[in-house]
């Protein structure tokens, strides 16, 4: 779905002030929440709940399941009246696996958690307007550890935002700087790979607003889906197609990645040389980055492993370490090969002997073969002895499960900060001075040093459905600033708008969620 954004803006006295209608924003909140509602309805029940009558105001709307009333503030979720822009409260509980407690707008709220200092108010559903012409909708004060704390919650609209994806795989996803596409539209690029992982950088203002309308829309959808922990299929120009979902294994060209490599080929030789010693004459650990050869490797030399006359293709870096034995790909160890013998040249007749045994294995242990040289010094694939199988399994065991990790990254601009304080730069300074801690949906964030408030957050740490969007296109993400009340006053906070936590929680727009993390610390 696509929504039109702003309508008209006034300039009394020549000063331009955008008057984006509040209802557009409210509408968008509703859509996010209601779509989530639909999902849940489809997943959990086939019984069609009835329409309900809302009594929140005298309009008394009849609301269908999955739809909202005329105000876009109240909706029918599975036959229950819910507020669709609720403030989400995370309750720190010892027991995990707690369920989402439905929002209660009844008068008999027991008020129990009101006095619990471990309650944290998130910005999800706090609502905002764009540009931020009013104070952050929700400024809450609470006693935390004897300090009168203020949490300013707002939902930032981030047109400068993006996602960094870490994909635990050695498989070749595509060349550096190659365009990453979703639904055929450019949404980002391949960036520098990290140890055992391929990195993608998606979104950013260039794709969101610098390209065609469709590019912006698809980028926005992609970012939002990834941020809300949904699976997204991405294709890389000149590379692979990969299904990415936060906290799940990547699926590269239709193959689910199981494990992350234990180390590069050379490192693997170093780690397992002792275990191979005496059980096999030669080991080649096939790796797109550095392929290791036991007999030539320093680790092999230390164990007095004899030369085997093996000839590797590729470029020798240092003894026993080879670059570029093959092209990158999705075969053995992130190369494009399916037959490991293709990276070997003929054995040196002076050194090699018939009967010489060779183990070839990839860096994840996922691929392995065992060979014995015949009379003509040709390797012949043979059943692998049990103790070598065991060593391959050991490699596998030492490879951690391959996952996709999705970090949302955004910068809080002047206008968002203005929703928090009259003097936005003071908020920045306060964050830098670690007086104010920043969280996103209650999750800890990393705040980049340097100018502005640019932060990164692991989306799996955030409550579900934390992200929304506006048709700008830009993402709507929760952001909270927590600080001492006195610090808040000192930085020019909107003191008139500070509400005690009890007031919020006794209000009718609170949703409780199980607490997922410890309360994030300063600059966590």
């Amino acid at each position: 779905m696509r929504f039109y954004a702003a309508v008209a803006s006034f300039a009394p006295h020549g000063r331009l002030t955008a008057f984006r209608s509040a209802r557009t924003i409210v509408r968008i909140r509703m859509i996010t929440a209601v779509c989530a509602g639909f999902d849940m309805v489809m997943e959990t029940t086939s019984a069609v709940a009835d329409k309900i009558r809302c009594d929140a105001c005298p309009v008394m709307c009849y609301i269908k399941p999955g739809a909202a009333g005329a105000c876009d503030r109240y909706a029918n979720h599975d036959g229950k009246l819910v507020r669709v822009d609720p403030h989400v409260i995370l309750e720190r509980t010892v027991s995990h696996g707690g369920k989402l407690v439905p929002f209660s707008r009844t008068e008999d709220w027991d008020g129990k958690i009101v006095h619990e200092p471990s309650t944290f108010v998130t910005a999800i559903g706090a609502g905002t307007t764009y540009p931020d012409y009013k104070p952050a909708p929700f400024i809450v004060s609470a006693e935390v550890d004897g300090v009168d704390m203020v949490t300013v919650v707002t939902e930032g609209i981030f047109s400068y935002c993006g996602i960094k994806v870490k994909i635990d795989t050695d498989r070749y996803l595509g060349p550096e700087t190659a365009t990453v596409r979703a639904q055929g539209e450019a949404v980002g690029h391949v960036t520098t790979s990290e140890y055992g992982s391929q990195m993608l950088s998606l979104g950013g203002v260039h794709h969101l607003t610098g390209g065609s309308k469709k590019e912006g829309r698809v980028t926005c959808d992609t970012l939002m889906d990834l941020a809300n922990c949904k699976a997204v299929e991405l294709t890389i120009d000149g590379g692979a197609s990969v299904v990415v979902q936060a906290g799940q294994p990547p699926i590269v060209n239709g193959m689910k990645e199981e494990r992350m490599r234990v180390g590069c080929g050379s490192a693997t030789i170093g780690m397992f040389a002792k275990q191979w010693h005496g059980k096999v004459d030669e080991v080649v650990v096939v790796d797109d980055h550095i392929t290791g050869v036991l007999s030539e490797h320093q680790a092999g030399k230390l164990l007095d492993i004899a030369d085997t006359g093996i000839k590797m293709k590729g470029r020798r870096s240092t003894p026993g370490r080879y670059f570029q034995v093959a092209d990158p790909g999705t075969g053995w160890g992130g190369t494009n090969i399916s037959d490991p013998l293709s990276i070997l040249g003929p054995f040196d007749v002076k050194e090699a002997k018939p009967g010489l045994s060779i183990l070839m294995v990839s860096t994840t242990g996922e691929h392995s073969s065992y060979y014995v040289l015949d009379e003509a010094l040709k390797p012949v694939e043979t059943e692998m002895p049990a103790d070598l199988k065991f060593s391959v399994e050991r490699i596998q065991e030492n490879c951690e499960p391959a996952l996709c990790t999705v970090l949302f990254m955004a910068g809080a601009g002047g206008s968002l900060r203005a929703g928090v304080t009259d003097n936005p730069v003071r908020l920045t300074r306060s964050v830098k001075d670690a007086l104010t801690r920043v969280t996103s949906g209650g999750a800890p964030v990393y705040v980049w040093p340097g100018g502005g408030i640019t932060y990164m957050v692991d989306v799996t740490q955030m409550p579900s459905g934390a992200f929304g969007y506006v048709p700008t296109p830009a993402l709507v993400a929760p952001i909270e600033f927590t600080m001492k009340l006195s610090d808040y006053a000192a930085l020019g906070g909107h003191m008139d708008y500070v509400k005690p936590l009890s007031e919020v929680k006794n209000g009718d727009d609170v949703r409780q969620l199980p607490w997922q993390n410890p309360i994030p610390g300063p600059r966590a």
């Binding site: 779905m1 696509r2 929504f3 039109y4 954004a5 702003a6 309508v7 008209a8 803006s9 006034f10 300039a11 009394p12 020549g14 000063r15 331009l16 002030t17 955008a18 008057f19 984006r20 209608s21 509040a22 209802r23 557009t24 409210v26 509408r27 329409k51 929140a56 105001c57 005298p58 309009v59 008394m60 709307c61 009849y62 609301i63 269908k64 739809a67 009333g69 005329a70 105000c71 764009y130 540009p131 931020d132 012409y133 009013k134 609209i157 981030f158 047109s159 400068y160 203002v205 607003t209 309308k213 910068g411 601009g413 206008s415 968002l416 929703g419 048709p471 700008t472 830009a474 708008y497």
Partner: protein, 299 residues
């Protein structure tokens, strides 16, 4: 339990925010401080209970407006009715088509009744009632994309102009549209008239029977919609440039008729990035604006 509307000044201390049920207003008055205060008190006073007043006649307001007989009593309800009757003789329309503009007009009326103001406006989610004292003017910007230096066009409304109402309608708003327009912004003598006309013109921006346009009965989406089982637009797929132009032209034809009948002072129609302007007002195109505009915000 008494339900009170939300009444608060925004952080700038200048603007008033009023919200009750589905009504959400941003109000600003300019003039002497005492006058502004009096105006805001009057706005808040009039706003309290206004929703209940409307709701007491809701069933009637949701019925097609018949030009012959109006049994409505509330002043806002009657204004809604009056705004839609010019269209009611040849098509289905209910007074609800003008609810937002009519409410804005009512609040503005309450303000200028008690206070002498240089300028004032009541913005009801994009449907805006204006007040201009002699010699004053408002600049109204039409925004394409709020993330850019994006005031696409601006127009000035002078106190000598007949325009005192601006409204925008389209398929993305909170209410349903029969048409496919992304937005139709109308300038008219009053906010209620602008509201009704924007609805009518937005409905006319359409391509009948086009397979890429998905429609659903309004009451399948909202059981108590005033539009009943009539089909409303849910999704618009890819349209060719020719189709976009044709749909816009169909809306423009409607707008020209309303202009000739004196019902509107101007209109701007937008669909899939294309725009069409109707009216004598010089709605000037803004080239690239210098940086630093208030609305060029990257949060």
């Amino acid at each position: 339990m008494t339900r009170l509307p939300q009444i608060a000044l925004l952080s700038d201390g200048r603007r008033l925010h009023l919200q009750d049920g589905p009504i959400d207003l941003i109000v600003e008055a300019r003039g002497h401080a005492d006058e502004v205060r009096a105006a805001y008190e009057a706005a808040a006073g009039r706003f309290t209970g206004l929703l209940d007043e409307l709701c007491s006649e809701l069933p009637e307001l949701r019925r097609a407006a018949l030009p012959a007989a109006c049994s409505l009593e509330g002043i806002v309800a009657r204004r809604m009715y009056a705004a839609v009757t010019p269209y009611a003789w040849d098509r289905f329309i209910t007074p609800m088509a003008a609810v937002a503009g009519s409410v804005a007009e009512e609040i503005l009326g309450a303000m200028i009744h008690v206070a002498t103001l240089d300028q004032a406006y009541v913005n009801n989610g994009g449907d805006i009632a204006l007040h201009l004292d002699e010699g004053e003017h408002f600049s109204v910007g039409l925004m394409d994309r709020p993330d850019r230096d994006g005031v696409m066009r601006t127009m000035r409304v002078y106190s000598t102009d007949p325009v005192r109402g601006i409204a925008t309608s389209g398929r993305h708003g909170r209410s349903f549209s029969f048409g496919i327009a992304d937005a139709v912004t109308v300038l008219a003598a009053t906010a209620s008239r602008a509201d009704a006309a924007a609805t009518i013109i937005a409905n006319a921006v359409d391509l009948r029977g086009h397979p890429a346009i998905i429609r659903e009965p309004a009451n399948a989406l909202q059981p108590d919609s005033d539009l009943g089982p009539r089909l409303v637009t849910r999704e618009v797929g890819e349209l060719s440039q020719t189709e976009i132009a044709a749909a816009l032209e169909s809306g423009a034809e409607c707008a020209r008729q309303l202009f000739d009948r004196g019902l509107i002072e101007g209109a701007v129609l937008q669909l899939c990035g294309d725009m069409l302007v109707i009216g004598p007002k010089d709605i000037e195109r803004q080239k690239s604006r210098p940086l630093g505009l208030e609305n060029a915000v990257h949060a």
